[in-house]
Symmetry: C2
Subunit: 678 residues, 2 copies
């Protein structure tokens, strides 16, 4: 292994000094070999360590003595082999920290830098030099990519295998690569992220400098999170990642192929200023397939302006397609393609172009490729993506495009996926970095006191009236509520509140209160309240043995509104997660929900609402009055603040249903469930 | 063009006689050339026509004289150039029909048969011989495919360019190819289908013989259908195709690449008997990506049995993955792969396997490929799909797999897509062809009389009470309903029906009756009915001028149930289309719907319901009693029968909401809207 590593370092034409270290050799590959790193004649910037795991701590101590800045630990036998290895890994990391050494790995393939140049991996191939930085948690994916890249049309700036991520992780790599002049885009293969909050924070800023593409696997892993709420059960194990990537402006891909399609798209470094796209094709079928793909991937086809159509008519046959996709017909030669491309790109509203070529008898693939390169030069802010379909007939043309950094794909769908990435990233670039939302005035102390009370009582679930008081402390409207401990008290309270009221048993052990006869709605008089109080206590005690009954909650019955759910759950990596969606009986199976990591501003809350289907209903269908969407956004912002104020204590929260009334009439959280971490 | 065609015919080594026909030549490419087809010395089986469009009718007449069976009209200048060309096309078709000649084209690339062999196209390349029949409406897609196929690992049996489809279309091709011994699977590129009903009928039977894959483009074309119902607006232009393909058991793909992935998968001709799949990999990352893809594409990973895990432990290192995906680790050589593959395939419940290989230092790609081929031979009913990641390191191994017809892909996602197609097709094969559902007893005459009444009145919309009577004729429950023309009559009727009742203005011009004060619910006494009758008439006449008011519909107010929508709309290609989904205010924006082409059996109706999310609610959530799903299925079957009984007359129908009650208590169509074709 050490031999292969050294050979790769030498063959990559690394310009600095290289010191082989091996206790059993004096000379390796023509270089003087040292028996210990401590014996090297000079300080060592980078150590590449491929010794048995047990020996790594000593080597690391040696690195410390030689003022080493970074150690790439290729050796396996650490955390991945169990608890013994994990202990060894902790030991290595401690030594590194003591000496200020950053560690890549252990259990990794190594690192490659094509510009320095340096190949410090045990993989055989040095990839073509390019501007994509590829960072992977899986070494095997890199091996495959390296082998594959030798026959591909785009290159890499850096390739980094993170292995066990004892020290250096994606956050460090993003920080480093965002300012690397040789890197135009960052591509990450991720299986899990340690510190989600930090990751989002760092990625958000980096995305403003260059695009980040992520392939996150393990989307189907069974969530280990305890699920005590609707929100928790609706937030599958992947939702936090999905939400985090979206909020950070990261482009997520669903597979390796899309990963490479995007990498090639961004390698051209041209990001469009505008979203509208134009397609030029010499065949109808592929044009329609591209149109379909545009619809699927959210790419907007430009509407061609009359002057442009007029101009196209001057040189295209009458049977051509003048609307987008522009069909130059099967007999179009390179000159016709060229004129058509220049004409459509000259339309001011067009942001990017897709040129499709199928090899028909009169087609001139190479010349057309050259014309595409020229046309692209005339519109430097408008990326052009090519789709050349076929095999040998278009191979040479593909090389021409590749040398000029024009992304070229074999299928229309891939071309559209590339354009979709370019336009999405252009939107990200233009989206202003949002300032942290201002704190709203809330009664945090009152809220803390409620939670303390619950915790003191050894409970983790808030009783109905406690949850409602918590909402009130954060300015969220709830029905007037009171916990009555006897019938007389219940009657008195109901009289004060006004009728009708709802009576509900208060007991942390009774989850489905309706099923045991523990709930009565629409109670209209004091005598009735007193009678029902006794019935509820009787029913509950009879049907749920060992239920701790705290009394009966009396609360105002509020008028029916549109039902939504607002919730909060906690993700192990990313912390609190806010949810909005269709509520009531529809909440759990319609799965019409959207998520955000707090803090969120009112604007972001409105975006969350806009992402769901229920928003159509709230906006007012068939001439009905719109609902008070603003008030829902306000509740979301308050929940967001509560989530962060008590992020270590509140585990899960459901406001379901929240009744939303007509515009200007607010909304009210009818039922609130809160679970603490305990 | 004629020259190229002739050269291709000759170069394809066609074994039969070839007669060149050209009025201006006596000898072409060494063959005697005739000046007119009528001069050829023998009858002509197949004529390939590439003369100017205007001359095609005469050539076709000549074909008639020579007893030609099939004419492939390559010539363009027909329907595709406008009405003049369309007229010419009709003329050609008429001549062909008069002489019993089948026509392929016009405006097509021609046909290829690699087994005869014969290349009667003007495309340069003869594709490798294989077992996939490719039929395309787009010539350009075929040109690209032919060029590309020369460098690919799987071949074609027939390639047919349908062009304008004046005569021969997809239906004819499916009929012919289903019994072609050289064809294992049929791949269609379709832009539109003429006779949808016929297509489904023919495809349904063919699918029982071999898989059909369809790439249908134009999914986003704006529907030209008039939309007068919720059902119509929910059935986008593509829904009928999607439904038809599903009901026929056709596998639909979303792009060209997937088209080829499936073609390669089916070229192996092994269809699994069981659905469970096992993955063997030498790297964790690609294994996780495969697992993710399995979840996304509905592929079920087998649960490895203890004995199998036991056996794997005998030869795999302790750090290996013994559960599915089985990870043989990066240092696995071919022998280890082989043992692992044989072991996991030996599990009785496993139906198919996916073998992933990444080229790591000790990996033996070619030997592993050979072992895969051998292992496959041991389990002839269990297809094995390979994913060999990388470039030059796995190229030779890919060839080994290709020669043995083991599908091999570069990415895990593609391997999973292939397995998904194989297992889906295996389910199709096992699904019994359903007998046409039996007719239910309905009062078709009464229904016809209602429609005639409406048509005689020059209307296309049924009034509320007419629509309800139509439902009654077909055995669908509706509230008791009566059209009262004066207050006294309304009062009398309400007394007979029993209270509470609903009063609703009856007027075809007033669409949103609630908005104009034309509806009153929960009316409880005769005096009230009479008073409200007058109010409704006054409101409606005042707010909607020129509304034709037929009176006020009085109907029983029924108790609230779960709300669903059942509907019917008509597709231009496929005819009637039945819909089921979440109803009431949720119908239009939740888009929680499923579709079928009638006729449907009760079993299919239950499947429709099961495809929606609302079915979870109907099944009973959180301990609530389940709803009467059977009764909903019954309504669907009755709507299906009505749809076919009156398919030329009923255009659109909404039963919305249908209230569904507890199990055993039936359901009732509260509001019914019916639009006729007019």
């Amino acid at each position: 292994m050490g031999h292969v590593l050294l050979r790769n370092v030498i063959q990559s034409r690394y310009a600095g000094k290289v010191f082989p270290v091996n206790p059993k050799a004096d000379n390796v590959l023509g270089l003087t070999c040292y028996h210990d790193i401590r014996e090297t004649p000079e300080p060592v910037d980078l150590a590449v360590i491929a010794v048995p795991a047990q020996r790594v701590p000593d080597v690391m101590e040696g690195c410390g003595e030689k003022e080493t800045k970074v150690a790439v630990v290729v050796s396996a036998g650490f955390k991945e082999v169990g608890s013994g290895g994990a202990e060894l890994e902790r030991q290595v990391l401690q030594i590194a920290r003591d000496h200020g050494i950053r560690v890549v790995g252990p259990n990794c393939l190594g690192v490659i830098d094509t510009h320095t140049p340096l190949n410090a991996t045990f993989a055989a191939n040095m990839p073509p030099r390019g501007n994509i930085a590829l960072v992977s948690q899986s070494g095997a994916l890199l091996t495959a990519a390296l082998d594959w890249s030798t026959t591909q049309r785009f290159g890499f700036s850096k390739i980094v295998s993170l292995g066990n991520k004892a020290d250096v992780d994606e956050v460090d790599m993003i920080k480093a690569l965002q300012d690397d002049p040789h890197t135009a885009s960052i591509a990450l293969y991720v299986e899990g992220i340690r510190d989600g909050v930090k990751f989002v924070e760092v990625a958000k800023e980096a995305v403003k400098k260059k695009p980040i593409t992520v392939l996150k696997s393990g989307v189907t892993e069974a969530g280990s999170r305890a699920v005590s709420s609707h929100t928790g059960s609706l937030a599958g194990s992947d939702v936090a990642y999905e939400t985090a990537f979206k909020q950070a402006g990261i482009l997520r891909v669903s597979g390796i192929e899309e990963f490479y399609v995007l990498a090639e798209a961004f390698s051209s470094q041209v990001i469009p200023n505008l979203q509208d796209v134009v397609v030029v094709t010499n065949a109808g079928g592929p044009g329609i397939l591209a149109t379909d793909a545009c619809e699927r991937h959210g790419v907007k086809l430009a509407r061609m302006e009359p002057e442009i159509i007029e101009e196209l008519r001057r040189f295209l046959p009458a049977a051509a397609g003048f609307h987008n996709p522009v069909d130059v017909l099967g007999d179009a030669r390179a000159k016709v393609y060229s004129k058509a491309i220049r004409t459509v790109l000259s339309q001011a509203s067009v942001g990017a172009g897709l040129v499709i070529l199928t090899p028909q008898a009169p087609t001139e693939p190479e010349k057309t490729a050259t014309e595409i390169v020229k046309a692209r030069g005339l519109f430097p802010s408008k990326p052009v993506v090519a789709v050349f379909m076929g095999g040998p007939a278009v191979a040479e043309a593909e090389s021409i495009l590749a040398s000029a950094s024009v992304p070229c794909y074999p299928y229309p769908e891939q071309g559209v996926v590339a354009l979709s990435a370019l336009t999405r990233y252009s939107r990200e670039l233009r989206r202003p970095l949002r300032p942290r939302p201002k704190r709203l005035k809330v009664d945090k102390e009152a809220a803390a006191a409620i939670l303390e009370g619950v915790e003191r009582g050894g409970r983790i679930s808030l009783l109905g009236h406690e949850a409602k008081r918590l909402m009130t402390a954060y300015g969220i409207h709830v029905p007037k509520s009171y916990l009555a401990s006897n019938a007389d008290e219940a009657g008195r309270v109901a009289d004060q509140m006004g009728y009708p009221v709802v009576l509900k048993v208060s007991s942390p052990q009774i989850l489905h209160k309706t099923d045991v006869g523990g709930v009565r709605v629409n109670v209209n008089a004091r005598a009735e309240v007193e009678k029902i109080f006794e019935e509820i206590i009787y029913n509950s005690g009879r049907l749920v043995t060992r239920a701790e009954i705290f009394g009966v909650e009396v609360y105002t019955m509020v008028p029916q509104g549109r039902e939504v759910i607002i919730g909060l759950t906690r993700d192990p990596q990313f912390g609190p997660l806010i949810m909005f969606g269709a509520g009531g009986i529809y909440a759990n199976f319609m799965k019409d929900v959207s998520f955000r990591l707090p803090p969120i501003s009112k604007e972001e809350a409105l975006e969350m609402i806009a992402e769901t289907k229920i928003q159509t209903l709230l906006a007012g269908v068939r001439g009905e009055k719109p609902s008070d969407i603003e008030s829902v956004a306000d509740v979301l912002v308050r929940v967001s603040q509560l989530a962060l104020d008590f992020q270590d204590r509140v585990l899960d929260m459901d406001l379901n249903p929240v009744f939303v009334y007509e515009e200007g009439k607010g909304s009210i959280a009818v039922d609130v469930k809160v679970t603490l971490s305990g």
